[in-house]
């Protein structure tokens, strides 16, 4: 049932009843403001979310959710910095809800530091963060993650490259991701 809800990738369409409830929404300036807010932030919010979920369908769903919430809750008189940090806060809570569906306990401690506004162009930053993370790992762990994620090798190709069995590649990948996950939690 969750499939139906999420594969359309545009909950904005799915719930037209929700989007009409914007406050202070009768002046043309407000419409322009909303259109502008959307236009200048959609790519950045998408990238912010993509860097955290790592797949297109989830990133599209969650981005659409963020802007649906934005339409519902936006005041017309917010300044750009307020709007911007607010959009990112909505993105963060939306992401936290998303992860909560995988893992029922409170994920508050897993969220990013809200006080630090994220960079609009996320991908270079993500690359930098990943380099820093990989540098903390033992060589074999780093190698398997680089091949799988940065080069996009299949398990079989990785096994050939590393001269391991496919089962061993999966075990190595498992240990590497768990270790890297703990490293991330430490920082």
């Amino acid at each position: 049932m969750r499939e139906d809800e999420t594969t359309t990738a545009a909950p904005v369409f799915a719930s037209p009843g929700k989007v009409v409830s914007l406050r202070h929404a009768d002046a043309p300036a407000d419409q322009e403001h909303l259109t502008w807010a959307y236009q200048t932030h959609v790519t950045a919010i998408y990238q912010y979310i993509y860097c955290r979920v790592g797949n297109r369908p989830d990133a599209e769903d969650l981005t659409a959710q963020v802007f649906t919430k934005a339409i519902n809750g936006m005041r017309s008189d917010v300044s750009v910095p307020e709007l911007r940090s607010w959009l990112y806060r909505v993105a963060q809570t939306t992401l936290a809800d998303h992860w909560r569906q995988y893992y029922a306990e409170d994920t508050a401690e897993l969220e990013d530091d809200v006080s630090r506004p994220p960079a609009p162009r996320e991908n270079p930053e993500a690359v930098h963060r990943v380099d820093a993370l990989l540098a903390t790992l033992p060589e074999s762990y780093r190698r398997v993650l680089e091949l799988r994620f940065l080069k996009g090798y299949s398990v079989r190709e990785t096994a050939q490259e590393l001269n391991l069995s496919e089962t061993n590649v999966k075990v190595l990948q498992f240990r590497a991701l768990n270790r890297a996950g703990r490293e991330r939690g430490r920082t």
Binding site: T35, T40, Y50, N55, T68, V80, W99, G185
Partner: protein
């Protein structure tokens, strides 16, 4: 239930194939962290992470429809019919009615033409040294909410927004063709910010940014 290499690899494989990973309860925080780390690694792959044009079109349509509904409620007569919108310039766009409405509306009702008008409580931020700007070649920067390009001509430095006025993608500069190019729908702009007239619909020019030079540093008014 324990996490294991097979389960985790299924998740990794979904990410690498750009499939929505299956939602299964996880045994512990380590399992969750491993998946979040996998997502972060996946996003670092070169070329990953830009929204598709189909998605942007759908979103644009949704936003415009929502905006229209709002404006239609207090003053229903002021709302142009979708049919009339559709007929006035969206022919040839096969991305569905909502997207067509969105595109059409956008070209009539561009974002505020001067990006700086929206930056009211900003401040001057140093973004580059003048010495780092080659003569005539745009250099990308970002600062606060602003994504832009700096172009130096002699001692004069100009700033242009890097947000495409079509649907909000971030423009790239092509040195080879000496123009800004949108990775989403292929709109192009000259280095003066004017849209090139080959594009199939009129687009607003790129907004200029407030830029000044202080002690050899280029500063941009931003938030």
């Amino acid at each position: 239930m324990n996490d294991d290499p097979e389960h985790l690899d299924k998740y990794v494989d979904d990410l690498l194939q750009d499939r929505k990973p299956e939602r299964t309860p996880l045994p512990d925080e380590d399992a969750l962290r491993a998946r979040q780390t996998a997502a972060m690694l996946r996003a670092a792959k070169p070329g990953a992470g830009l929204p598709s044009k189909e998605f942007l079109e759908r979103m644009q349509g949704s936003i415009q429809a929502a905006v229209e509904e709002q404006s239609a409620r207090p003053k229903p007569t002021a709302r142009p019919s979708r049919r009339s919108l559709l007929l006035t310039g969206a022919a040839g766009i096969a991305a569905g009615v909502a997207a067509a409405v969105g595109i059409d509306r956008l070209s009539q009702q561009p974002t505020p033409p001067q990006g700086q008008a929206l930056v009211t409580n900003g401040s001057w931020k140093s973004v580059k040294a003048v010495a780092d700007l080659p003569e005539g070649t745009p250099i990308a920067f970002r600062s606060g909410a602003i994504e832009g390009f700096l172009i130096r001509q002699g001692q004069d430095v100009k700033g242009l927004s890097a947000v495409c006025t079509h649907m909000g993608c971030i423009l790239n500069y092509s040195k080879f063709r000496n123009q800004f190019e949108c990775p989403c729908h292929g709109a192009t702009f000259g280095t003066n910010g004017e849209p090139s007239d080959q594009y199939d619909q009129p687009l607003p020019r790129l907004p200029s940014l407030n830029v000044r030079v202080q002690r050899g540093q280029v500063e941009v008014y931003t938030v």
